[in-house]
Symmetry: C2
Subunit: 331 residues, 2 copies
Amino acid sequence: MIAQRLPKPDDISSAVERLKGQAVRTPLLEFPVLNARTGGRVLIKPENLQRIGAFKFRGAFNAVSRLDRERWPGGVVACSSGNHAQGVAEAARILGLDAAIVMPNDAPRLKLEGTRAAGAEVLTCDRVKSDRYAIAAELAEERRAAFVPPYDDLHIIAGQGTIGHEILEDAEDLGAEIDMVVAPCGGGGLISGIALWLKHACPTADIYAVEPAGFDDLARSLASGHRERNLSPVGSICDSLLAATPGELTFEINRNALAGALAVADNEVQAAMRFAFESMKLVVEPGGATALAALLSGRLPVADRTVAIVLSGGNVDPVQFAEILGRRTLS
Amino acid sequence: MIAQRLPKPDDISSAVERLKGQAVRTPLLEFPVLNARTGGRVLIKPENLQRIGAFKFRGAFNAVSRLDRERWPGGVVACSSGNHAQGVAEAARILGLDAAIVMPNDAPRLKLEGTRAAGAEVLTCDRVKSDRYAIAAELAEERRAAFVPPYDDLHIIAGQGTIGHEILEDAEDLGAEIDMVVAPCGGGGLISGIALWLKHACPTADIYAVEPAGFDDLARSLASGHRERNLSPVGSICDSLLAATPGELTFEINRNALAGALAVADNEVQAAMRFAFESMKLVVEPGGATALAALLSGRLPVADRTVAIVLSGGNVDPVQFAEILGRRTLS
């Protein structure tokens, strides 16, 4: 993995072609209520409407479809908190490959079920006590299967970068020039792919990553210049954004391309999920709502600017969603 | 009202121009999971993403923006179970007119709040015991305000017909030819507007209306050839589709243009809302989900055909939505 080169814009162009007819071409949505509230022109990229309910299918299909099948007779192995799991499982199903995925046993039910429904074998482990990377690596070796990393991979990053490509293409159709793109950040595959394309095709745009409070490893790494680690592996409702540290490749891109990284608290994420429900009619999972939460918190300089907000996923269990809706304070 | 002529396709073309920059140009979405489940190619028209969270803004803005302001110094008056209320209130706000809306006191909180938030005066009455049409008509006369009917009006129907126009335009971009369009039906403004455009621009397509069980006045009217009434004014969760009888204008269009009308039970509607939540990440209100419910129930001949399904609105209270999510039977 570590010997991989950094992705280039051409790798994203190649991924755009490869994903045609496979990934959903998600729209770019505008909500007058959101423009009125923020004073900017807000364009929403709803990757919760993507195949498997999250952007992760893009990178997974881009990577898995390029594997040399003869070299990997055992198919693919991955480890994931849930969305990469479903992305790899769905890509393997489409391509006719075996898939085995190591997931934390406290992953949302929807993500565990979705991974199994795509035909993958699911092996669960303890989120904190087990090293699911080590388990997956061992499994891959045993089975002569390819390990598909969740973010720190040339083709994974390039696949997620197709989101940046689509944002610019659709913004042009709307007569809009993008000033800023804001996206959720865990290991950094999504934000680095988007940043890579934007810095190539729209270099004046500012790119911001939004992490969960307590998991601001990227913000601290940008400050120190080194890959910092989070202090705890638990303590946020954003189950999809709890990577321990920035990836090597993703950080190398992000340190040069990002305007900054912000952190949002659980209650801000929940408020954003309720706003998406009431005013946008979209179901967003906690980790998928951090960029929207940062926007609604008023901490981004969006007045009179055109800003694209990525909603990265919508795989939230009905029980958790109902509970978050119920916390609404009547105004 | 009754002296109005029937709308023509040109009225829809005119509404398309009038709504530019005012209504949201909602996308046409495709979900691989829905194609796999139904065996057809399903294209979703998500009018829950429309301004005010429902299609009703289209007809309301088209009608209200054409009013002669000098003739109606008191602005506009409407009666509505909630979505037309918000549509008229929002159109009046944009156009700088006063608005007073008569609504049932059991309307969803989100709809009452949305109407007030747009600056309208809301007068509530009992859904069953009061005749909200009569109250609104009297109020309009008192105030020298224009009464904006919820469906039985040339410009209201033409405004809703812009949905048919957009479906065909976006289907062409996707390389799809529409074989069938299915939409929810209350008074019939939405379905008649869509049918009017489709019969003009794509006459081979079959258009189906979907009513709530117990409110199948259109299906019975199509069978008898006369406008039939529903037996009870209550008894369905589809609060937005409880009109007592088809409109005069809407029925005149629908009797000639529709392939048929189906009815769906509350439990089918709830299952469709859960499907939209889990697999499409969209929030749909009960009345907005009847066409999807008919599709998922397997009663539409969609195999190997391209079918557009209209989700007409998403204004459902969080408490009701949470309760419906909680009814999920674990599979």
